[in-house]
Structures are given as structure tokens and as C-alpha cells.
């Protein structure tokens, strides 16, 4: 297949499917056409599932290489990852997701590790928040004052100190914050439209790269 066909075929598919999806969203079409659009969405899910499979293969290959090379300080962890990747689908396919063993593995391994990581991440998050709210610059000062007001709105102690804190915090969240968020969202929406337009017409190119051109 020539390089031109390699690039133009995905661009054409993107254009046809993108244009069709936009039409179905805006134009009142017969139910058979809207059903076809739903089927297309189902295809998207299948493609994403295939991509997940690709990601898993890349992960397995990377860690298998590490184990084979006995890379210092890393290969033992790679074995744990490989076992983790293989054991859950294996248990799912053999004894099912409702079996005692599968549930035990999930709750004693996956859930506990998740909770432990959350505990670790939390301390760094607090450090990050501290740096964020330091009043080194004017925007940091404003962020710190707003954060303090919102915290005093939510925490019961705020109301106990002064009954105006909850009102001030609510006002801050309901008016300036929402206003700014909407401004950013509107501008972002036009930016997203621009990138969608470029993707539909093949100007963007990021989704059809590869092959070393």
C-alpha cells in the first residue's frame, strides 16, 4: 500500500463517519439512520477495546524484556506486573467474576493497593496544595484567600467563627467561579471545534501518522 493511500484512507473514513455523526445529531432523520449511527458508536467501543489489547501487549512485552535482561532493581517488579496482568483475566475466564477467589483477589490485592497508594499520594497532594496556595504572587494570594473562604464555608468551624463565612463562600462558588469556568469552557469549546474541523478534513494529521514520513 502506498504512503498516500495509507494516509488518505483513514482521513476519508474519519471524514465520512464524522460528517455522518454530526448529521445524525442535528438533522431529524428516519430511525433506521439513527440506529446505524448507534451501531457505529458500538464499533468505536470495539476499536477502543482492541487498542486496550494492544496496550496490554506493549506492557507485557516491555516487562518480559526487563525480566529476560535481568535489569537491576526492576526485573522483580516486572514479574509482579506480569502476574498481575495475567491472573485477573485468567480467573475471570476460568471461574468467573462472581467467584470467591476472584472477589478475594480483587478486594485483598487490588483494592488494598489502591487505598495504600491513595494514602501516599495524599501527602504529596497536601504539599502541592501548600505550594499552590503560597502567596508568592498576586494570583497565589487570591487563590489562597478564596480557598480559605470556601474551606470556612464547608467546615462547621467557619459558621461558628462568623455567620457570614458560609454566605461569602457560597457566593464565591456560585458567581465568580461559575462565571470564570463558563468563560474558559466557551473558549475551549471553540478550540475543540477547530481541532475537530482540522481532524475531519485531514489537516490535523496526528491520528494518521506513522510510517516515517
Amino acid at each position: 500500500m502506498s504512503q498516500l493511500t495509507k494516509k488518505s484512507t483513514p482521513v476519508m473514513i474519519t471524514f465520512i463517519i464524522g460528517f455522518f455523526t454530526i448529521l445524525v445529531y442535528f438533522i431529524a432523520l428516519p430511525s433506521s439512520v439513527t440506529e446505524a449511527s448507534s451501531t457505529l458508536n458500538g464499533w468505536a467501543t470495539t476499536i477502543v477495546a482492541l487498542a486496550i489489547g494492544f496496550g496490554t501487549i506493549v506492557l507485557l512485552r516491555t516487562h518480559t524484556m526487563r525480566v529476560m535482561q535481568r535489569r537491576k532493581g526492576e526485573w522483580v517488579y516486572s514479574i509482579v506486573i506480569i502476574i498481575g496482568i495475567l491472573i485477573f483475566p485468567l480467573l475471570y475466564l476460568t471461574i468467573g467474576p462472581n467467584s470467591y477467589l476472584y472477589k478475594t483477589f480483587y478486594s485483598t490485592v487490588n483494592a488494598t493497593i489502591g487505598a495504600s497508594i491513595y494514602g501516599l499520594v495524599l501527602f504529596t497532594l497536601v504539599g502541592g496544595m501548600y505550594r499552590t496556595f503560597r502567596a508568592k504572587r498576586l494570583n497565589g494570594l487570591l487563590l489562597m484567600i478564596s480557598a480559605c473562604l470556601v474551606m470556612l464555608q464547608i467546615a462547621p468551624i467557619g459558621d461558628a467563627i462568623w455567620s457570614g463565612f458560609p454566605i461569602l463562600g457560597s457566593w464565591l462558588m456560585d458567581y465568580p467561579t461559575v462565571g470564570v469556568y463558563r468563560g474558559i469552557m466557551i473558549a475551549s469549546a471553540f478550540g475543540a471545534l477547530a481541532i475537530c474541523f482540522r481532524t475531519l478534513l485531514g489537516y490535523e494529521g496526528g491520528h494518521v501518522s506513522g510510517g516515517g514520513e
Partner: protein, 258 residues
């Protein structure tokens, strides 16, 4: 029977108008019309990061956010992230800087692999092994990015895409490693952290404008230029809505909902 679905007429008009404007401006740029755009400091920041990495002999870190997929509403942000990653890869290939890229989206991974491959081949090189790492979404991604930045003592970080809670964690890790940081997201809840923690923040729509700028295709600049009249129209419509609500003129508000 109505041709346009009820409640989507205004949306349809805006879509057609924006697409027509983009097409017209791209055509104008092709014909040689000069468009002057303000250069984003973050774009220069990326060049500075790569130069710094070469001088210090330390790697550059790239990631494109810890959430979303190509089949969802966050896809434009992911595509913008891919564009930033590709530009960074091209710069790293040119100056022989070590690049570590982390992706947690299995559907975006092939795009990154393909684009990085192109970027390195452009300079007659191969992508070094383990340049792109896949770490699944969630806390493993957050911790993975943080520990890579700290352990490898990244000279700089470029983080563009749909970020959630990991934004503050990864930016904090970069700060601790003394990295020069470029970061941007269109997720409004995380913008404040990037604005406060990184050297070159990209706020909301900046990531899309930056992506078009970095594509090095002049026609793409037409789309950035084309956004401005619609932003101005949005401001005017918002003001009209504010006035009509407060002066009790319901027809204007109803007009926007058709």
C-alpha cells in the same frame, strides 16, 4: 416535520458558521494572506526545556493527562497533547535529548508511537527503546509519572491533555526535581494548579491554539484566527442574555434555546 432536531437549531447554525469561517480562512492563508498571531510563551518554553536537558544531561518528561479516551468528549485535548508530544520528540531527536513519555490511554498509545516514529525519522534516527511507556490510568499512572520525574531528575516536563487530580501531584514532583515545566489542560477544575505550580501554563483553549501552532502547517493558523470572531460573539451574547434576564426580556433568552 422539522428538518433540524428541536432545541439544536442555534447549535447547528454556530457549527456551520464556525466551519465555514475556518474553511474560508484556511483558504485565505493558502492564497498567501498573512496572519499575525501572538506567540505563546509556553511554545518557547518547550525549546528552552530541550536545550536545558541537553546542557544538564538529564531527560525531558512528557505526558498527556490521566483521563479520557479518543471516543469521548476529551478527545480534542488528547489530540492536542499528541501534537505537543510530537513537537517535543522532534526537538529531542534534533538535539539528542533523552525523552521519557508516559501515556495511560491505550487508544492514544498507537498515535504517540506513530508520531514519535515520524519525528525521529525526520532527523534520520530511531526512537530509543522505552521512550514511550504505558502506565494504566488511575493511581498507578499518577505515582508512575511522579516517581519517574523524581528518579530520573527530569530537566523539564511537558504535560498537555485532560488532567484530573494527578495534575497537582505530577506538577509538584516536577517542582521538587527542579524541572522547568510547561503544562496545560482544558479541564477547568485543574487549571488553577497548573497556573500556580508550573513555569509556562497553558490555560484552556491555549492548548488547542498551541497544537495548531506546533503543527508547522501554516493553514492551521487560519482556524486559530477564525475562533476570535466567535469568542467576541459569545461575549456579546452573554451580555445580551445578562441584560435580557435582568430587564425581563424573555424572547431573547428563548431565542437561544431553539
Amino acid at each position: 416535520m422539522a428538518i433540524i432536531v428541536e432545541g439544536r437549531i442555534i447549535g447547528f447554525i454556530i457549527l456551520v458558521a464556525t466551519f465555514a469561517t475556518f474553511y474560508y480562512l484556511i483558504d485565505q492563508v493558502k492564497k498567501g494572506r498573512q496572519i499575525r498571531l501572538r506567540r505563546l510563551p509556553a511554545i518557547d518554553g518547550i525549546d528552552e526545556i530541550v536545550g536545558r536537558a541537553v546542557e544538564l544531561g538529564r531527560p525531558v518528561f512528557f505526558t498527556n493527562g490521566g483521563t479520557g479516551s479518543l471516543s469521548g468528549v476529551l478527545a480534542p485535548q488528547l489530540l492536542a497533547g499528541v501534537r505537543f508530544g510530537t513537537y517535543l520528540a522532534k526537538k529531542c531527536a534534533e538535539l539528542d535529548a533523552k525523552l521519557i513519555a508516559v501515556d495511560c490511554h491505550p487508544d492514544v498509545l498507537p498515535l504517540l508511537v506513530g508520531n514519535f516514529d515520524d519525528a525521529y525519522k525526520f532527523h534520520g534516527k530511531q526512537v530509543p527503546p522505552e521512550t514511550i511507556l504505558y502506565i494504566p490510568q488511575g493511581y498507578s499512572y499518577t505515582l508512575g509519572c511522579g516517581s519517574l520525574i523524581t528518579r530520573e531528575r527530569a530537566a523539564g516536563t511537558v504535560m498537555v491533555g485532560p488532567f484530573q487530580h494527578e495534575a497537582v501531584f505530577v506538577a509538584e514532583a516536577g517542582l521538587e526535581a527542579g524541572a522547568l515545566q510547561v503544562a496545560g489542560t482544558a479541564r477547568s477544575s485543574q487549571i488553577a494548579y497548573f497556573a500556580a505550580l508550573v513555569d509556562f501554563p497553558l490555560i484552556g483553549e491555549d492548548i488547542y491554539a498551541g497544537a495548531a501552532y506546533l503543527s508547522e502547517i501554516p493553514e492551521q493558523l487560519g482556524t486559530i484566527y477564525g475562533e476570535d470572531p466567535f469568542k467576541l460573539a459569545s461575549i456579546i451574547i452573554s451580555l445580551l442574555a445578562f441584560i435580557s434576564y435582568n430587564l425581563n426580556i424573555p424572547w431573547l433568552l428563548n431565542l437561544l434555546t431553539i
